[in-house]
């Protein structure tokens, strides 16, 4: 009996998906007790999920990159760019909604392909490449839209403002994205290769995995997901903001690392992206409810990140002995 308990405990601590779920559950229960009328309401929960939908969709892409041992800093700019591009096309170009979205997503994909090409085939450092791309794409977004673009077509807004079972659509899109990628990472050879690339790039190449091609795909896919997130965000706001998604890249990387990824690559599970974002979302939500002001939010989130990573290292050390 005691033995069984110990091994279950070990399993929980070994898998970030379990340990983080448990932590989130504990925090949520405590918050329900302290703020019963404010936290534990249907409205608050659906709002909370809605607010983290953009981050989570981007986080899925970021998780993919971190698993393969790299990252992309340009995602925040792509979020802004995709929204502004679609809005610009619809508002100034009178392009139909569907076409505008397709063009915006194609443009996002192209940004990812450029990133991936330089990183995978020209050996440009991913940090430099995506940092540069972050500036370029942000500039493009500002140039396209000037200030924010208002008054987008009804059907564009309907994408995110519609509700299903009383919950706004972005939440469903987020769950769908997480679900489909969890499935793909678990059951397809294609996506499993990213674990090997992150684990040992040279060995992966020698094992016949086309590393460069796979890297190109991963950046393209991440950018595409960021583009989708951008479209959903501007549809939800009913406006395209060139300033949106500032600092999103770091927030998302934080969430993904909380969710079990490692900057060294090879580790991480897709649901971890959702859980990491959920964890940060709940903390932020509790701080809003308890009226903790903005500066403190940053400080507390920073401390939590260090604490979470430290506790992970600590448990790993304990497990090794």
């Amino acid at each position: 009996m005691g033995h069984v308990k110990l091994s279950t405990m070990k399993k929980i601590f070994n898998s970030r998906v379990y340990s983080l779920s448990l932590t989130i559950l504990c925090i949520a229960i405590i918050a329900c007790i302290i703020f019963p009328g404010q936290f534990a309401t249907r409205q608050n929960f659906s709002q909370l999920l809605l607010n983290l939908s953009t981050d989570t969709i981007v986080a899925v892409g970021m998780m993919l990159l971190l698993i393969s041992g790299t990252f992309d800093l340009s995602v925040g700019s792509v979020v802004a760019f995709a929204g502004c591009f679609a809005a610009y096309a619809m508002f100034f170009g009178q392009v139909p909604v569907f076409l505008a979205i397709s063009l915006a997503l194609l443009a996002s994909l192209a940004i990812g392909i450029v990133n991936g090409y330089f990183i995978a085939y020209q050996q440009v450092n991913p940090m430099i490449q995506t940092l540069a791309m972050m500036g370029i794409v942000r500039g493009l977004a500002l140039w396209l839209s000037g200030a924010s673009i208002q008054g987008l077509p009804y059907w564009f807004n309907a994408i995110s403002q519609s509700k299903l079972f009383g919950i706004q659509m972005p939440v469903w899109y987020m769950l769908f994205t997480v679900g489909i990628f969890t499935f793909l990472f678990h059951y397809t050879n294609f996506f499993r290769r990213y674990y090997y690339i992150g684990g040992n790039e040279k060995a992966a190449e020698l094992s016949g995995i086309p590393v460069s091609k796979m890297k190109l795909y991963s950046f393209a896919l991440t950018s595409l997901l960021a583009g989708i997130a951008g479209i959903l965000l501007s549809s939800r706001l009913g406006a395209a903001l060139p300033t949106s998604g500032r600092g999103l890249e770091l927030r998302v990387i934080t969430a993904v690392i909380l969710g079990g990824a490692s900057l060294n690559g090879g580790l991480g599970k897709i649901p971890g992206a959702l859980l990491g974002a959920l964890f940060m979302g709940i903390i932020a939500n509790i701080m809003v409810i308890s009226r903790v002001s903005g500066y403190w939010q940053e400080i507390i989130l920073g401390i939590i990140l260090i604490f979470a990573v430290w506790i992970d290292k600590y448990l790993q050390r304990k497990n090794e002995i």
Binding site: H186, R193, Y196, G199, A204, E205, S207, I209, L267
Partner: protein
């Protein structure tokens, strides 16, 4: 320096790495330490170099009890260590590496570059003239890196030098240089602890040999009074037989290359038949690994033709090579062969991910892994165990399983027994022989001449990127091979 260890014990969690180990070392002695992997040699070495502290036991230096609380303390007592896994900084020059701990400075406290180079050159004079003090370590061959590593420890002016598998990645020429250095140190009354898997070396240079098994002290023998069989028996606890080589009828040509040319290779042509082991001998850096990597599509081919089963093929990437039935087991097992942070199952199926199927079948993967674990007797408690927790021999078996799961027709195997203990070594030899029995063609790259001579059918000696001689194994000797390699 006189050294005595008394009843040293050390455990890591539930694993008892060392149990009441005692032995002595007299000044000017070369004392070999041997035992299978996991016997406790590395732990003992780490205790002596101050990296870990024993749970129990005492260490006496020149009859004074000492407490080696960290590596700085060990250095203070003039104990220097040459680690097996190189501890060099690739991004710094040879000189900066050798004097990493004690960079000479001028009066102002700034780095005295001239003196640094001068000292390094003096030191290298004694060791190897071919190494330039100003080159970056990343530009050196494995063998030269090992020599720099040794130079680094000599720069500490040690009284006790611990060498951990110093010859595992160097060629016989460099081994000769090393033995000369050891003889020189010995004459200066420096004591040496020499850890190795290679029995020949033990008999060649050591005065006494201490055997460890499963963390326990087995015994210390005067080298001249024991023979190989006895030593192996005390290490392994059982007798070991050389691989059984049944007569093999050589089949059709599996792989043929014509005039391979690129940056590293000049006019390489040879044929490899089914059921044959063709060995590539030569010095480290002669281009043996590059031949395999070129055929595998890792290095670009400038000109030349590759024929597989008689059909000309182009191989732009390892993926294509695999599709043509080729497999390559690289020399640097942890760096290029294994995914150390991943499990045994994940490693074994890693080469099958590029096959046509879309979906990953967890059940099938587990079955494949279990099949190989049983077939090759991979010692593990769990198929999901991370491979960095396995011993070198088991790791190599995992790498071999990974390739064999693809059922390749031609295998290129680079340094298959590097850093592997003797028991596992013979198992791998047997495994390679069995593969030829199944009709597979094997291209073996090895720096151990004994290994080449006992396994191969033919030998190609490689020198400066071209084939300097083809030899029939049965009709040649170590000396002849070396002659063509130099």
């Amino acid at each position: 320096m006189k050294l005595a260890l008394r009843n040293i014990s050390k455990s890591f969690g539930a694993v008892q790495a060392l149990q009441q180990v005692s032995f002595d070392l007299v000044p000017g002695e070369v004392h070999a330490l041997c035992g299978e992997n996991g016997a406790g040699k590395s732990t003992l070495m780490n205790i002596l170099s101050g990296n870990i502290q024993p749970d129990q036991g005492e260490i006496f230096l020149s009859d004074q009890q000492v407490h080696l609380k960290d590596s700085a303390t060990a250095l203070h007592y003039k104990i220097a260590t040459v680690y097996q896994h190189l501890s060099l900084f690739d991004n710094l020059t040879v000189a900066e590496n050798i004097y990493a701990h004690q960079i000479p400075t001028n009066k102002k406290g700034l780095i005295d570059k001239k003196r640094l180079i001068l000292q390094t050159e003096q030191l290298l004079q004694e060791i190897h003239r071919g190494i330039d003090a100003n080159t970056l370590v990343s530009n050196l061959s494995m063998g030269h890196k090992q020599l720099v590593e040794i130079a680094k420890s000599l720069a500490q002016n040690p009284q006790l030098l611990i060498l951990d598998e110093p010859t595992s990645s160097i060629t016989d020429t460099e081994t000769k240089v090393l033995f000369k250095i050891i003889a020189d140190l010995k004459s200066r009354n420096v004591s040496i602890i020499y850890i190795t898997h290679r029995l020949d070396e033990i008999f060649h240079i050591s005065d006494r040999v201490t055997v460890l098994k499963d963390g326990k002290y087995v015994g210390t023998m005067v080298t001249s009074e024991v023979n190989k069989e006895k030593l192996i028996h005390s290490m392994v606890g059982r007798d070991i037989h050389s691989p059984i080589s049944k007569f093999n009828k050589k089949g059709d040509i599996a792989l043929a290359v014509e005039n391979l040319q690129n940056k590293y290779l000049k006019n390489i042509s040879f044929e490899l038949r089914k059921g044959e082991i063709l060995a590539l001998a030569g010095l480290v850096g002669a281009g043996r690994t590059e031949i395999a990597k070129t055929i595998m599509g890792v290095l670009p081919l400038a000109s030349g033709k590759i024929f597989i089963q008689g059909v000309e093929v182009t191989i732009p990437s390892p993926l294509q090579a695999i599709r043509h039935g080729l497999a390559y087991v690289p020399e640097d097992r942890k760096g290029q062969g294994l995914f150390v942070e991943m499990s045994i199952v994940e490693n074994i199926v890693s080469s099958t991910l590029t096959q046509e199927t879309i979906f990953y079948n967890h059940q099938k993967a587990n079955n494949t892994a279990l099949e190989f674990i049983n077939k090759f007797d991979i010692k593990t408690t769990d198929i999901n165990k991370k491979t960095n927790l396995l011993s070198g021999g088991n790791q190599q078996k995992v790498v071999l399983s990974k390739w064999l799961s693809l059922k390749p027709q031609i295998m290129m195997i680079d340094e298959p027994t590097q850093g592997i203990d003797i028991g596992a070594k013979f198992e791998i030899y047997q495994l390679l022989k069995d593969l030829t029995q199944e009709g597979k063609a094997i291209l073996l790259i090895s720096s151990e001449l004994v290994e080449i001579l006992s396994l191969s059918d033919r030998i190609l000696v490689i020198k400066h990127g071209h084939i300097s001689k083809e030899l029939i194994t049965k009709e040649t000797t170590e000396a002849e091979i070396m002659e063509w390699a130099m």
